[in-house]
C-alpha cells in the first residue's frame, strides 16, 4: 500500500440551488428574511429539493506515477472533483488524503496581471502555482525559450495577442514540477503545433514518475496520455480501470439509454402530439451524438378528425437561447391530407451540421390558421466532438457561430 499517493473516501459535495443567484445585495437578504417558509418541515423539504449533489460518495485511489484520466459528461462532477483535490472548494462530506506537493492547473494564465511584463508575470504566476523563487529563477530562461516570445518578454502582457498570452502562460505551467499534477482541459487552447509541444512536455513529465490527474473531453488525448481512467456519471464513480475499457464504456454511455418524451393527450384538439424522441439513424434513442453523425428527431401524433394542411414544426436552439433554424413541414410542396389515425414523422439532421453544444427543440403542430400544440424544449440533445480533434478547426465549440457550413477559403496569388 505504500505507493498510494491519493486516497479519496466517499467524497461528496452539494450545492444549494438558488443560493447562487439570490442574495447579492443586502436588500435581497432582508427580503428573504420576511419570506421565509412558515413551516419548518416545508422549509426542510424545500432545502432538500434544492440541493444538488455535484459529487456523491466518490471513492478511489491513485498510485504513485499513475496518470489518471477523469472523464464524463458535462456536469458529471469532474471539475468539482479537481477543485476539491486542489483545495479550492471544501467537500461537504468524506475526505481525501494526498501525499505530496500538489500543483493544480485549472486555467491557463492563473494570476496573470495585464499591467505587468511577461517576465514579471512568470514570477507572479509561477509563485501562485507553487514554484519557489529559486526554482523560477533557475527556469526563467527555459520558460522564456519554451514560450517562443523572447522579443516581447519585457512588454506588459496587455499588449500581447491572445496567442502570445497563451504561449507564455502555458510555458510557465509546463515547467511546474509538483509531485502530483492536476490538469483541467487546458490543452484546449493554443495552436496545434504548440499543443503538440505541450503534450510532449506532459508526456515527458509523466515518464519521470510524476502522478497526474487529467480531465479532458478529448478522448484522443486521454487515451494517449493516461494509463488508467475514471468515469464519472452524475457525480458518482461509474467505472474505473484501464483507459481503453473506460473510454469504450464512456462511448457506450453516450449512446444513451434515455427514451423520448410523451405528452398528455388532449381529446379536444383535432390533432395532438403524443410522443417525441431523439434517435440515431438506426432508431436507437440517444442523448448525445457525435459531431459527424446524423441525428433524427421523431414525433408521434394523433389525428382525430380528417384534417387538411396539418403541419409540424421544429425550432432548434443552441445553449437554451439562440434559435438556429426551424424546420416546418409546410415547406414541402404538398401538405398532406390526414385521415384520423396515429402518425409518426421524423426529421433527419445531417452530421457535420451542428457544432458541439447543447440543443433544445421546440416542437409545434397546427394548421395554417390554428396553432394546436406547442411545446418548448420538448427534446434536448447534445452534440459532442468525440471523433474529431477540433482544436484547430474553425467550428470548434469555443468559437462563435452555431453551424458548420461546408465552405472553405480558396486562395490564389494575384500579384
Amino acid at each position: 500500500m505504500s505507493d498510494i499517493v491519493i486516497s479519496v473516501e466517499q467524497l461528496s459535495k452539494s450545492f444549494r440551488l438558488g443560493e447562487m443567484r439570490r442574495g447579492h445585495t443586502l436588500a435581497d437578504a432582508i427580503n428573504g428574511l420576511f419570506h421565509r417558509n412558515a413551516s419548518a418541515q416545508a422549509a426542510k423539504e424545500e432545502a432538500e429539493r434544492r440541493t444538488l449533489w455535484a459529487l456523491r460518495d466518490v471513492s478511489f485511489t491513485v498510485r504513485r506515477g499513475e496518470v489518471l484520466g477523469i472523464i464524463g459528461r458535462n456536469g458529471a462532477g469532474k471539475s468539482t472533483l479537481l477543485k476539491i483535490l486542489s483545495r479550492i472548494v471544501a467537500p461537504s462530506a468524506g475526505r481525501a488524503v494526498i501525499d505530496g506537493r500538489v500543483g493544480a492547473l485549472l486555467e491557463v494564465g492563473t494570476g496573470f496581471s495585464s499591467e505587468l511584463t511577461g517576465r514579471e508575470n512568470i514570477l507572479l504566476s509561477g509563485t501562485i502555482l507553487g514554484m519557489s523563487t529559486q526554482e523560477i529563477r533557475r527556469k526563467m530562461d527555459e520558460i522564456i525559450d519554451f514560450s517562443g516570445i523572447e522579443r516581447f518578454i519585457d512588454t506588459p502582457v496587455k499588449r500581447y495577442s491572445s496567442g502570445m498570452y497563451t504561449r507564455l502562460a502555458f510555458a510557465v505551467a509546463a515547467h511546474l514540477e509538483p509531485e502530483i499534477l492536476i490538469v483541467d482541459e487546458v490543452l484546449a487552447v493554443g495552436d496545434l503545433e504548440f499543443q503538440r509541444k505541450c503534450l510532449g512536455k506532459m508526456n515527458a513529465m509523466t515518464k519521470g514518475g510524476r502522478t497526474v490527474l487529467f480531465v479532458s473531453h478529448n478522448m484522443g488525448a486521454v487515451s494517449e496520455l493516461c494509463s488508467h481512467a475514471l468515469l464519472l456519471q452524475r457525480g458518482q464513480v461509474h467505472a474505473m480501470g484501464e483507459t481503453a475499457a473506460i473510454v469504450e464504456e464512456y462511448a457506450r454511455l453516450q449512446r444513451g439509454t434515455v427514451h423520448g418524451v410523451t405528452f398528455d393527450e388532449n381529446e379536444n384538439l383535432p390533432a395532438s402530439m403524443t410522443a417525441a424522441s431523439v434517435t440515431d439513424v438506426h432508431g436507437n434513442a440517444v442523448t448525445t451524438v457525435d459531431i459527424a453523425d446524423p441525428v433524427v428527431l421523431n414525433v408521434t401524433y394523433k389525428v382525430r378528425e380528417p384534417l387538411d394542411g396539418l403541419q409540424l414544426s421544429a425550432v432548434i436552439s443552441r445553449n437554451m437561447n439562440e434559435i438556429i433554424c426551424t424546420f416546418d413541414s409546410d415547406a414541402l410542396e404538398s401538405i398532406p391530407f390526414h385521415e384520423p389515425g396515429t402518425y409518426r414523422a421524423s426529421l433527419r439532421l445531417p452530421g457535420m451540421f451542428l457544432k458541439a453544444g447543447n440543443y433544445s427543440v421546440r416542437i409545434a403542430t397546427g394548421t395554417p390558421d390554428r396553432l394546436m400544440m406547442e411545446i418548448e424544449a420538448a427534446l434536448t440533445f447534445e452534440v459532442e466532438e468525440l471523433s474529431q480533434n477540433t482544436h484547430h478547426k474553425g467550428y470548434r465549440k469555443e468559437r462563435i457561430g452555431h453551424v458548420i457550413a461546408p465552405a472553405n477559403w480558396k486562395r490564389e496569388q494575384v500579384g
Binding site: S7, A27, R87, V89, A90, I98, D99
Partner: protein
C-alpha cells in the same frame, strides 16, 4: 495509510487531508506563515500595479499627504486656529494623518480584496485571508514612505526625534492589526453583499472625523471622551503622536488597553466569521 518509501526518505512528503470545513475555526496562522512568499509576491504586484501607470509613481505617496497637510494647515491651523498640542499644526496634523492614511488605504482596498481576487481564488488554493492581508501590508509600505516624510517635516520645524520614537512600531502594528481585523469582516461581507463597498466610503468619512486627526483629543468635551476610548484608532493615533512629536501627552494606559482589547476581539471574531463565510463565498462567486 501510506508511508514514504525508504528510498525517498530524504525528501519529506507533505501530507494533506482534505475534509469538510465545519464550525467556527480561528485563523490558521501556521498555514499563512507557510504561504509568506506568496504574500510578498502579492504585495509586490499590488504596489507595482498601483504606481505603474502614474508618471510620478511612488512620489504620489509623498505628494498626497503633503498637499493635504498644506490645505488643512491653512484652514484648520491658520484660519480656524485649532490647537495642536504645542507643536506647529502641519507637524501635528501630519503626525496623525499618516497613520490614518495607512488605516484608510488598508481598509478600503482590503474590504473589496476577496471579490477583486476572485479570478485567482476560484482557480488556485492559498489561505484566503492572504487577500485582505496583502492590502494591509502594501498599505504599510506606503506608510513607511510617509513616515520618512514626517521625519523630514519634523526636522524642518526643528523637532528632534526623542526616545518615545522607539515605540512607533507598536502603534503601527496596532493600527495594521485593526485594519486587518476590519478587512476580514468586510471582505467576507462584501463578497456576499456588494452593499458593503458602497457604504464603506461613507463609513470611512465618518470615522475620519470621529478620530482626533485634524483636532487634538484635548478639545473633545470630557463627557464624550469615552466614545474616543472605544475607538481604538483614536488611541493608536494618540499614542503615535506621543511617540513622534515629543511634546504631545502620553496616551492613558487604560485607553491603550481598551484599544488592544477591542482590536483583538475584532480580529478573532473577524477571523472566525471569515472562515465561516469563505466557503460559501467561493461556491457563490
Amino acid at each position: 495509510m501510506s508511508q514514504s518509501p525508504a528510498g525517498e526518505a530524504a525528501q519529506p512528503t507533505i501530507r494533506q487531508v482534505i475534509k469538510p470545513v465545519s464550525g467556527w475555526q480561528p485563523l490558521d496562522v501556521a498555514e499563512m506563515w507557510r504561504f509568506r512568499r506568496l504574500l510578498s509576491v502579492f504585495v509586490w504586484r499590488e504596489l507595482k500595479i498601483r504606481y505603474k501607470q502614474a508618471v510620478l509613481g511612488f512620489l504620489w505617496v509623498v505628494i498626497q499627504p503633503l498637499a493635504l497637510t498644506i490645505v488643512y494647515s491653512i484652514f484648520f491651523g491658520y484660519v480656524a486656529r485649532i490647537p495642536s498640542e504645542g507643536v506647529p499644526y502641519p507637524v501635528f496634523f501630519l503626525g496623525g494623518m499618516i497613520l490614518w492614511q495607512f488605516f484608510n488605504l488598508a481598509v478600503t482596498q482590503g474590504s473589496v480584496s476577496l471579490v477583486a481576487q476572485q479570478q485567482i481564488i476560484t482557480k488556485v488554493y492559498f489561505p484566503r485571508p492572504l487577500a485582505p492581508l496583502t492590502s494591509v501590508v502594501s498599505a504599510f509600505v506606503d506608510f513607511l514612505i510617509m513616515f520618512g516624510l514626517l521625519i523630514a517635516v519634523e526636522l524642518f520645524y526643528g523637532i528632534r526625534p526623542s526616545w518615545p520614537m522607539l515605540t512607533v512600531p507598536l502603534f503601527a502594528i496596532l493600527t495594521g492589526t485593526m485594519a486587518f481585523a476590519i478587512c476580514l469582516w468586510l471582505s467576507a461581507l462584501d463578497a456576499l453583499y456588494r452593499d458593503v463597498r458602497y457604504a464603506l466610503t461613507f463609513l470611512m468619512q465618518v470615522w475620519y472625523f470621529a478620530t482626533p486627526i485634524i483636532y487634538p483629543l484635548s478639545i473633545v468635551p470630557e463627557r464624550f471622551r469615552w466614545i474616543m476610548t472605544l475607538n481604538p484608532l483614536a488611541s493608536a493615533i494618540q499614542g503615535f503622536r506621543w511617540a513622534v512629536l515629543g511634546n504631545a501627552p502620553p496616551p492613558p494606559v487604560l485607553d491603550m488597553a481598551v484599544a488592544v482589547g477591542v482590536t483583538l476581539v475584532l480580529l478573532l471574531s473577524g477571523a472566525m466569521f471569515f472562515r465561516r463565510i469563505e466557503q460559501r463565498v467561493i461556491d457563490m462567486i
